[in-house]
Amino acid sequence: MSLIRKHLLGLEGVEKDELNHIIQTATSFKEVLSRPFPKVPTLRGKTIVNLFFEASTRTRFSFELAEKRLSADTLNFSVSASAVKKGESLRDTAQNIEAMKVDMVVIRHAAAGAPHFLANCIKGSVINAGDGCHEHPTQALLDMMTLLEKFGDLQGLRVAIIGDVLHSRVARSNVYGLTKMGAEVALCGPSPLIPIRADQWPVKIMNNVDDAIFWADVLMVLRIQMERQQANFFPSLREYHNYFGITVDRLNRARKTLTIMHPGPINRGIELDSELADSEHSLILDQVTNGVAVRMAVLYLLSGEK
């Protein structure tokens, strides 16, 4: 089978066999990464632009490394929010990219839908590296790959996504991907951080983190952003930590072993205890390794679509 799409804008609507195909391809690339010379000439001659309109180190490094491992020529275009305000519009940038005859664009943007906008103005493939509160498809793919490595199959696996689901693109992409792969998904967080009409998705919704721990096999802990407190999504970080933080005590009380994931960067001691993040049950570093392999796979598969 092959991936019959030109862009990867999100996981919504991506079918199970496509997801499996991407992850299987990523497994082949993961082997490349373990070689003494971890580089293949697969995308030699392809030009890829990394367009980051929002601060990011992990995702940008991961994409850059994936591109270099595939021998693509890469350009990094980081635009600070202030430069955008000065009038560097996405449309201008897109036109410039088009004039440079680029094959693929990886875009991170604070505005949801920015990758769709770009896909409409350029001929090359667009890969969404996170758009506002919408989707972050490669993150969910690497999460699924990591879970598949550990559990072999996602059918019936119970994954609780915990925290600020409302503002999380990671959560949305994982909801689409995990449920397509047969996993059961629960969203758990303070009510104001669970999006309106989240029940349109085939997920459980929980407000009590102990219920989620009792139910789940895997806890996917989301980053909680300090500024949400000012907007009254929850009263204080202290209260958040006490009632929604994933702590050693809480897990000890549950008397079960859970697999812990986090898309990073972690607010240690707020949404997740350091001890848990660094424990043998944490897949956080596997997520990072798989991130490069998954991005190589996506770049490889999309580069073939004409």
């Binding site: 003494p36 073939g304 004409k306």
Partner: protein, 189 residues
């Protein structure tokens, strides 16, 4: 694609004898099996390498380290394809530095698969030598590549294709000469 079998070039017994001869030649050329490793090129090169290794084990009482190479990532025809070919795993779980690597493939034709395989091997280290063992050399080389061990050399035309069938994945052990209308510039796998 239409396929018409024109001739049965090698039968099961012939295949067995050819593989046995290749095994002897590999041992002889390398004066034993010290520092020799086998790497089979997916798909049938792998099964061929396994059978050669089995023969070597019979001769030398010890098998060689064996690896599997998928050359897809090294293909030079991506720009002519409409979607990316399926990748498979490469498994070389030993160090190839200062080794004599015998690369095993079924049919040597344009030489492009071998070129890709050579490049792929270099990513794993710096072997002392790389030797090429093929079951069939059918000519029509597009690159300056010459095999070290050949099961059988054939004169073929461009409209023909040589196919190795192996019990491991096919229902027969033989080599067929078939007529095909497939694009002749495609790398065979």
């Amino acid at each position: 694609m239409t396929v018409k079998v024109k001739a049965r070039l090698i039968d099961a017994n012939g295949l067995k004898r050819t593989i046995s001869r290749l095994a002897y030649e590999i041992v002889e050329r390398n004066k034993g099996i010290q520092d020799v490793v086998l790497v089979g090129v997916r798909t049938r090169g792998v099964f061929l390498a396994e059978r050669i290794n089995h023969e070597i084990e019979r001769i030398e009482k010890s098998a060689l380290p064996m690896g599997i190479l998928d050359i897809t990532m090294y293909r030079d025809d991506f720009r002519e394809l409409h979607s990316q070919p399926q990748l498979q795993q490469t498994e070389i779980n030993f160090d190839i530095d200062k080794k004599n690597v015998v690369l095993v493939d079924d049919v040597l034709y344009t030489g492009r698969t071998t070129r890709a395989a050579l490049e792929a091997l270099m990513a794993f280290g710096r072997p002392t030598t790389i030797q090429l063992a093929v079951l069939i050399d059918r000519g029509h080389r597009q690159l300056p590549i010459k095999p070290d061990f050949v099961g059988k050399s054939l004169v073929t035309s461009l409209g023909e294709e040589v196919q190795l069938k192996m019990k491991e994945i096919d229902d027969d052990d033989c080599v067929l000469l078939v007529e095909t209308d497939r694009d002749n510039y495609k790398i065979e796998d």
